[in-house]
């Protein structure tokens, strides 16, 4: 109406409506951006700007205070030759399995069990298993430091059931420190995946299960052909969060082992911290951060693609 009023010369015809629509669409798009702008500005200020700054820093050799010197991509190239960094990425692979894949499998198992049968006090189990998610990483790390202590609960239990030979300094043992850290991740991630999958299972229509049962499907077949495909979205979320979480592991390692014994539990994020604050080499630290950020992005995109492509 208003358009017509302002453009009285435009004849009513085939052209006008499309133009009107596109103009309106365009206006709507700008309006959308306008609505988004507060969040976008905030995001740009606290995420994009520091990211750009970090990428910029990663091209310099800089101790954080004195005159920086431009080194181009040399900081990135130095990764390949840095045995410590390569070792740290190797450790992260172990952590990815233990933080991501193991909780995923356990969560699936638990969700399929809990969703099928009515168990008394089910809510309490769920609450208990989800509890680690509510605790901050620092608290979790301190609790487990006690559990893993030479005279801590874990060794005490092992001794009380006659498994003295299995007791060890879990976090001080070169072979066991990394798996021990991984177990903390399993404990933390398991409740999260389970609650996520339980919610997902509840969203799968009962008719699908009924139909399957009528067709004589076994429990495994039900799980394989109904539950698993139905949880694809939740699995993508769980994997993305746990795997990127594993890549970024810092607080837990910093509090429990500081990367020790020796370098048995170093992670890229721990090295990043050391490079940025302990022995300032801001360029390499920034490069590490950028690589980690893009790895996380790549993994998130990859997982989403794989999960979407199955649809």
């Amino acid at each position: 109406m208003t358009l017509q009023a302002t453009h009285p010369t435009v004849p009513a015809g085939a052209v006008a409506p499309t133009r009107r629509r596109s103009r309106r669409a365009r206006r709507r798009r700008w309006l959308g951006l306008l609505y988004l702008s507060p969040a976008l500005l905030l995001y740009a200020a606290i995420v994009l700007a520091p990211l750009a700054q970090t990428m910029n820093y990663s091209l310099y050799k800089w101790d954080g205070v004195s005159e920086p010197s431009w080194v181009g991509l040399r900081n990135y190239l130095s990764f390949g030759r840095d045995a410590r960094m390569l070792e740290a990425f190797g450790h992260v692979l172990v952590l990815i399995v233990m933080f991501g894949l193991v909780p995923l499998c356990l969560g699936l198992l638990c969700a399929s069990l809990l969703s099928r049968a009515k168990i008394r006090g089910e809510g309490i189990y769920r609450w208990f298993l989800f509890l680690p998610q509510v605790l901050t990483a620092v608290v979790v790390a301190i609790i487990w430091k006690r559990i893993y202590a030479p005279d801590g609960p874990l060794n005490t239990i092992l001794r009380s059931i006659g498994l003295d030979g299995m007791t060890r300094n879990w976090l001080g043992d070169f072979d066991w420190a990394l798996p021990s850290l991984g177990m903390i991740g399993v404990w933390g991630g398991f409740g999260f995946t389970m609650v996520l999958f339980l919610a997902g299972v509840l969203a799968i229509p009962d008719e699908h299960y009924e139909a399957a049962r009528l067709d004589g499907a076994s429990r495994w077949q039900e799980f394989r052909y109904i539950t698993l495909p139905g949880l694809r979205g939740q699995m993508a979320i769980a994997l993305t969060l746990t795997i990127t979480g594993a890549l970024r592991t810092f607080d837990m390692v910093y509090i429990t082992t500081q990367g020790g014994p020796g370098t048995a539990t170093t992670t890229p994020a721990l090295l990043l911290y050391q490079l940025a604050f302990v022995n300032p080499d801001v360029g390499v630290a920034s490069a590490t951060g950028v690589v980690l950020a893009f790895l996380c992005l790549g993994i998130a995109v990859g997982i989403t693609r794989v999960m979407e492509s199955k649809d």
């Binding site: 700054q53 920086p68 500081q258 014994p261 020796g262 050391q274």
Partner: protein
């Protein structure tokens, strides 16, 4: 819809932004030291001055500092010193940012070594104190102490050049603590040298007691024992040269391999606390205070001895294995003046006060070791008296060596990891020395 084009375009824009962004902001050293016109400074006539001080002092140390601040303010009522205290890690890791910030501290405690004071000096974030050295006669301090805070203004030389921070009348050493009741149980006497120490360890072991209290889960603190042993085998001059990077002393030349071999032998003889790789530092400190072992190598000022513990415990600065001179790791706390300080001469006069005799008395009154001044120790504390006796021997032989981890920014981490490997039987003393040398070479090549 986010199309591929949008992604590519925003990526490209972002990339451009990154590359076009100007270089990170650094600062250059002030090649010239501040000019001091007067031949003396009259603080009382300076008018009302407020100085902001950032430090890490807590516990007993905070008490003597508070006393010193109060005494200074009483002496000069026109000066107010505002203290802010943060923990050590936070202080050392954010010192450069704080000094560059909008409200930089006027006075700041800094860590020695390349990565801390060296970097700050190089960047001109702390003042070159040379002009005040004459004014306050700071050259009266022993050269071994002064050199701990000396750098060339370009930050390329440590242990010589201009003074960038001053010591305070308090020090911390690494030495051997013993528990008399445990030694009595083992039928061993208080040792006087390495041989009698090892003899006492053997006796304690035979009596079913733990000879040496130790923990190695925390990397940093696992090294105190190695550094203490290192002082018994290394040549003082060579250790100094290695840490200050003067000359071409090799890691194999400073007693490190002998110290590592000795430490490994203690492990093999079962003298160290069982399960030490799984024990936390704080728990090990607690265990020693509870009488769980005969000895522990530790930094002074760590243990808070109470009541009868003051009679039961004692401290030793063991003489070197050969020659019997006392060489030990010890240093004061370095205090610097921020480059943006508006009243550097007043700040310098406070630094001088912190290194003065009155402050030394406050330090001792709070049970910590003094530095530079001979002060009266409280009579009813034999443990503390033994620490002072140890320090006097060190003073007498002028046997101070700097903290070994000042040698490179990553040395403490390297050494900690190596000690863990060595005691787990995964490396040899030679490997440890090689790793120290590699860390050193890597740092020197980039210096």
């Amino acid at each position: 819809m986010v199309t591929r084009r949008t992604v590519l375009m925003s990526g490209a824009a972002f990339g451009l932004l990154t590359v076009a962004g100007c270089a990170p902001q650094g600062s250059k050293a002030n090649s010239t030291a501040p000019k001091v016109s007067a031949t003396s400074i009259d603080v009382a006539k300076a008018g009302s001055v407020t100085l902001a001080m950032l430090d890490f002092w807590s516990g007993d140390a905070a008490k003597w500092v508070a006393n010193a601040v109060k005494a200074y303010e009483t002496k000069y009522p026109n000066v107010t010193i505002k203290r802010t205290s943060v923990d050590w890690g936070q202080l050392t890791q954010t010192a450069n940012l704080r000094l560059k910030g909008k409200n930089p501290p006027d006075i700041i405690t800094v860590n020695n070594g390349w990565q801390s004071l060296g970097t700050l000096a190089k960047a001109g974030l702390v003042l070159n104190l040379d002009p005040y050295t004459k004014l306050f006669k700071w050259d009266r301090f022993p050269s071994t102490i002064l050199r701990q805070t000396q750098f060339s203004p370009d930050g390329k030389t440590m242990g010589a050049g201009s003074l960038f921070a001053t010591p305070v009348s308090s020090s911390s050493l690494i030495g051997l603590y013993y528990n008399k009741s445990v030694l009595d149980k083992a039928g061993a006497a208080v040792p006087t040298d390495l041989a009698s120490f090892e003899d006492a360890c053997a006796k304690a072991k035979a009596a079913g007691l733990v000879p040496i209290g130790y923990s190695s889960q925390d990397k940093g603190s696992s090294t105190a024992i190695l550094l203490a042993l290192h002082d018994l085998f290394g040549d003082q001059g060579k250790i100094n040269d290695f840490v200050y990077s003067t000359g071409s002393v090799k890691a194999s030349d400073i007693g490190m391999s002998e110290a590592a071999a000795r430490l490994k032998s203690y492990q093999d003889k079962g003298w160290l606390t069982k399960n030490h790789p799984g024990i936390l530092y704080a728990d090990a400190i607690d265990a020693f205070l509870k009488g769980k072992s005969a000895f522990r190598f530790e930094y002074t000022g760590t243990f808070a001895f109470k009541g009868t513990q003051k009679q039961d415990y004692g401290y030793l600065q063991l003489p070197q294995a050969a020659g019997g001179r006392v060489v030990g790791t010890g240093a004061s706390t370095a205090v610097a003046i921020g480059a943006k300080c508006a009243h550097p001469e007043i700040a310098a006069s406070f630094l001088d006060f912190l290194a003065g005799a009155q402050t030394a008395q406050f330090v001792v009154d709070n049970g910590l070791l003094p530095l530079l001044h001979d002060v009266k120790a409280p009579a009813d504390n034999p443990e503390f008296a033994s620490e002072i006796a140890g320090q006097r021997q060190l003073d007498k032989d002028n046997g101070y060596v700097p903290y070994f981890d000042w040698s490179t920014p990553s040395m403490l981490d390297t050494l900690g990891g190596q000690v863990q490997l060595l005691l787990a039987g995964r490396s040899t003393p030679d490997d440890l020395v090689k790793a120290v040398q590699a860390d050193y070479d890597k740092f020197q090549s980039g210096r």
